[in-house]
Amino acid sequence: MNLSFLRLHPRLITWVLTLAFGTVAMSVSCGDAKTWQQIDWLDVVGEGGITLMAMVWLFFILASRPLGQVTNLLTIGLSCFMVTCLLDVMDEVMHYDQAHAWLYWVESLPAPVGMILMTIGLYYWHQEQLTLKSLMHKREADFRQHQMLDPITRLYRADYLRELLGQMEQLAPPYCIAMVDIQNFGHINQTHGLKAGDELLRSVADTIVLNLRQTDIACRYAGDRFVLLLNQTKDSEARVLLEHLRNAINHQAFKPDQSLTGIHLDVRWKIRQANDHLHGAAMLPSLQEALDNTSTNVAVGL
């Protein structure tokens, strides 16, 4: 588990811990412990469990979110909820006298405040997700499956694409699939090293995304091959798009390492428009084959 986000939140962590220990300390100092016979253990287990879960949720919020308003609201809101739960557990084991009876009714106060704060936090979180979604444009369709993201290019992998194509088979709109292959990538990997090769793949992925239209989606297929799903597109239109993309890549000097000598790349591409005979994921092997067959002609001069 990667806990690097936790290091960003020393203040919030202090806040949560102070609140938790403060609550317990206050309850202990104000009341007397019940005898073993007086304690209803079923209640202790039930309410203790809720408290524990609230703490686990707090942990996950702090471990998975960057600094910011949404994180603050969710953390403070949930920690107020936690205080109520804690007081609930404490009054199962503590008995308060007349002077401290106010603790009984105070215990229900933090929860509603916390719920309101969390609701506001969730509203902002919703808006944040919409904003992030627009950043994922051309990289993601209407479903999210983070396990299918390629760690190198940060595009989705082939299995995501296959799932997506499975859905489109039912819709059957006119669409094209293009496969793009970086030329001599093996040679670059060999001369510049694996790390530079990975860096280069990431840059090419970014260039591809930059040159797509709003409705297109790019995926990393295998090795140095990318697949583009071009929605509502005819073969002739796709050709224009791919030529633009190839031009863009040709004119870029990629700098995978720190040096200023850029690497110039060329790509090859193949396009298929879906039809009654060939559509969906079945188009992928045929595109691979088309690219393989041209590579035997080209690669002799390598």
Binding site: D150, P151, I152, A158, D159, G186, N189, Q190, G193, L194, K195, G197, D198, Y221, A222, G223, R225, L284, P285, Q288, E289, D292, S295, T296, A299, V300, L302
Partner: protein
Amino acid sequence: MWLWASDMANHWLERDSKLPDLPLAQAMLNLAQARGLNLHKWLRGSGLFPEDFGHKSISPEQLLLLIERLYKLLPGQDHSFVLGHQLAQHGFTLGKFALSSCPSQPLVYTQLQQYQGQWHGYFEDAIGCGAMWPVVLEIHLTAILAYAKLNSGQRLKIALACRHDRPRHIQDYEHYLGLQLQFQQPLDQVRFINADAIGFEQLFVSDSAHQQAKSGLLAWLQQQLEQQSDLRLEQLAHQLEISPATLKRKLKQHGSAYSKLQDKVNGRRAIQLLQQGCLTNELLAQQLGFADIANFRRAFKRWLGDTPQMFRAKYSAE
């Protein structure tokens, strides 16, 4: 190419044999470093440290553990293919030894055969790879194809049949190994389609050095059984100069058993004869040294799980 001249009697390697200079280990280190993997985490439990690479000997057992942990810790499913390319690109001791079980590639036992004018390769676990075998096979095959491409400038086309199920990352198979793929087959087997055009024999076959190389224990035993299929466990143990009980124990350590190896060798021989066009059961039985057809049918079923008839019906598409 070095040899263990001191103990030429030991022609085999075991899981815990120490091997200096394992290119696959070096390739994994390169990949782990390039992808920013925490090396200490990766090496945990292997008894190795980052500075050991290139200096300290590594055993096949450690190598397998490193592969397993690499897959566990590094996101992605195509590491085997990247590693195969690395092996070929860096001119590691693969080259002409790619298809033999040389010390640098101690995990795979390869048998090459030429019939009907084509080269065929059969791949077997040489040391007890267990669940890692599909990954090891991927590395091995990718290295062979990448090596051929580097040295001939052309793609070596293969038709691949393997025992394991169709993988989820089929696109990597298609990209690195080609489109002629079959899964859930009785053997791990490759037909080299354009061997002549790329100078296959020169690249992979015409080198005698590999004969001196050591094989993994399972590979070595299979070689003996191929030469003389009725060798008994006691005789094999005698050849290895160990007691039958020790051999049994060693086989168990390597995830195998004498009867398993014998079934494997016989089954492979039967399939090869079938593929070479040996069609009637009588002929097949005769070739494999069976006088009685009923006995042969029973034995065949034990080796391959199907009777000869069922087997033909199932794989006749090949």
